[in-house]
Amino acid sequence: MTQTHSGTASAQPKRSRAEQLGRPSMWRMLLRDRFATLAALILTFVTLTAVFGPALMGELATRQDLMFMNKPPFDPSNGWAYILGSDSLGRSMLARMVVATRTTLMVAVPAVLLAMVIGSLWGVWAGYHRGRRENISMRLADIIMSFPSLLLAVVVLYVFSPSAANIVLILAITRIPIYMRTARAESAELQSRTFVDAARTFGTRPNAIIVRHVIPVVTPTLLTLATLEFCFVMLAESSLSFLGIGIQPPDVSWGLMVAQGRQYLQTAWWLSILPGLAIVITAVAANMLAAWMRIATDPSQRWRLTLDKATTKAFKKVIKDAK
């Protein structure tokens, strides 16, 4: 049997292009996309650095050497420890950035995840049910949004101690409405779709419909949003640090490094530019990976990732073998 005709030959050949590829493994699709592969490598590297880096660097991050103040980066004569230059106290930038990776991720990742989970679930729920639940939820979101988040942070962090946990909490709460709005809008649109109506006609309960039909569709969008938020949260954390209520020295984060380096921008640019670059590269990598994931998880878009003919054939073989 040839599989020539099982797709639609309508004016949109797009719809059927994914066909016959079955569901190629995510792994293979990732390797097919050069940018996504690069992004994944960067993120793996950052994560590994956060986990093992501080142990490897040991004392180096805190050792001051006043003879080695503000050395510019990329000068091999200073030795590998100072390859990224040194700060105003003669500490190794490389070691400090490695140590800061852990702090940064420990604040940003939980803050983003917390806000995403709470905001998304709330938004999806509000959008699915519409009516009063939606109105009240959205007014609440407006209140959080219109309240200056920095002011809220200042009040909370002055009253309570500026611990990492409190920073995470504050950052999460102020960003919940972002996810809520997006999730609500998508969910409100989805709940009027025919396949949701179909599920209702079987007597499926709202929560089951949300889990089965709404969340899988909304998730990719929210993940993309979350990667953008990742960047925002790191910068917000740096502005808290700037006000002295963020990460407290001797702990160090990328944001704090950017904030501290700002006054030396004219004499020692690397103090804030390098950690700033770290933030941007991490965020862009996360964003690229999210963009890829968005396509890879959508069956009607997936064909874009499997264009090569040879690969297509290989997939077919794999699928046949699997059967």
């Binding site: 599989q3 005709h5 099982s6 639609t8 874009r304 264009l307």
Partner: protein, 355 residues
């Protein structure tokens, strides 16, 4: 690639009457997987005061053909060959500027979706008057007067007040009338109507068809009607071009083609119309579905669904050839079509569909 040269058809091409002549038109779509030919060697003639129907199912290339003639192809699609002569001037070799000068006033087009074809932020008067301001250099006041006149001609009640309304304030049928008014504003020689009534209800469809007929005779235009509805073709068109998978498989006068189809696809379509068949009777249907455009088989495009298929159909693509007075078909066995049953009744399973 297989092409066929249309020899000048003596019967179908009386000069002086011809407004549009399309010859060997090819349209390609660039996809990430490579280039796909969606229209292949299409040729037809549209004559003054007559309606030519491009008939086919979704994806057969009928809309693509019309868009290629009107110069409205999407950026991913391009004309890969052939000619489209509007009053003897080849639209396909013109520069963009020449094209605007010739096709702007000479060719009008009506789309299926009237709501998206109108700009929601301008009044109907502004949008109708635009053509006069651009091509005739009319003043604002003149343009408005012309717009009111047009609205009256297409049967919109109280045009003097409604000229200041916005598109959303009109019903679907009225919007379609406005689109038609826009298309005929500059008295074009050719009107292309792409599924003009598909989105409308039966009673409104009848009104719009009546209007198109009236305008056609008033303006002495040629009309190219693109549709999937055989009954509409039977009632409205003089000539018909049946398209399948990007190819013209049969063409000729509606009367002969519909009375004595010489291509199995045309015959199968005609038999699929429920018509007056009685409750419970199995409907005739064509097994299978059209091939994907990137997987069109070598040989005849219809071979996979055709009951008359033989080895020659797999080896050689049939050319359009005369099969009767004012009728041509691309089938190796055109002479046999009349005697054979080409469709089947009863339930068709997907296995059979995929044969």
């Amino acid at each position: 690639m297989m092409t066929h040269l249309l020899e000048p058809d003596v019967v179908m091409n009386d000069s002086g009457q011809t407004v549009l002549e399309v010859r060997d038109l090819d349209v390609d779509i660039r996809t990430p997987k490579g280039t796909v030919r969606v229209v292949r060697g299409v040729g037809f003639t549209a004559r003054r005061g007559q309606t030519l129907a491009l008939l086919g199912e979704s994806g057969c290339g009928k809309s693509m053909t019309a868009k290629a003639i009107a110069g409205l192809l999407d950026p991913v699609a391009s004309v890969a060959g052939g000619h489209a002569f509007l009053d003897g001037k080849d639209l396909n070799t013109m520069s963009a500027r020449e094209r605007r000068e010739v096709a702007g006033p000479g060719l009008g087009i009506v789309f299926q979706d009237a709501l998206t074809a109108l700009n929601p932020v301008y009044t109907i008067g502004t949008q109708l008057g635009e053509a006069f301001r651009i091509h005739r250099g009319a003043s604002r006041k003149q343009a408005k007067a012309e717009a009111i006149d047009l609205m009256r001609r297409v049967g919109i009640p109280e045009p003097e007040t409604r000229v200041n309304s916005y598109p959303h304030q009109f019903s679907g049928g009225m919007r379609q009338r406005i689109l038609i008014a826009m298309a005929v504003a500059l008295s074009p020689r050719l009107l292309i109507a792409d599924e003009p009534t598909t989105a409308l209800d039966v009673t409104v469809q009848a009104q719009i068809m009546q209007l198109l007929r009236k305008l056609r005779s008033e303006e002495d235009m040629a009309v190219v009607l693109i549709t999937h509805d055989l009954s509409v073709v039977a009632e409205e068109a003089d000539d018909v071009c049946v398209m399948y998978a990007g190819n013209v498989v049969e063409q000729g006068s509606v009367r002969t083609v519909f009375a004595e189809p010489t291509h199995p696809y045309t015959k199968g379509l005609l038999e699929s119309v429920p018509g007056d068949s009685v409750r419970g009777q199995g409907l005739s249907s064509i097994p299978g579905s059209p091939p994907e455009l990137n997987k069109i088989p070598a040989g005849c495009v219809y071979q996979d669904r055709c009951p008359l298929v033989a080895q020659i159909c797999r080896d050689e693509r049939p050319q359009l050839r005369p099969t009767g007075p004012r009728q041509r078909a691309a089938c190796h066995f055109a002479e046999r079509v009349g005697q054979e049953t080409v469709s089947q009744t009863g339930v068709v399973s997907v296995e059979e569909e995929n044969q």
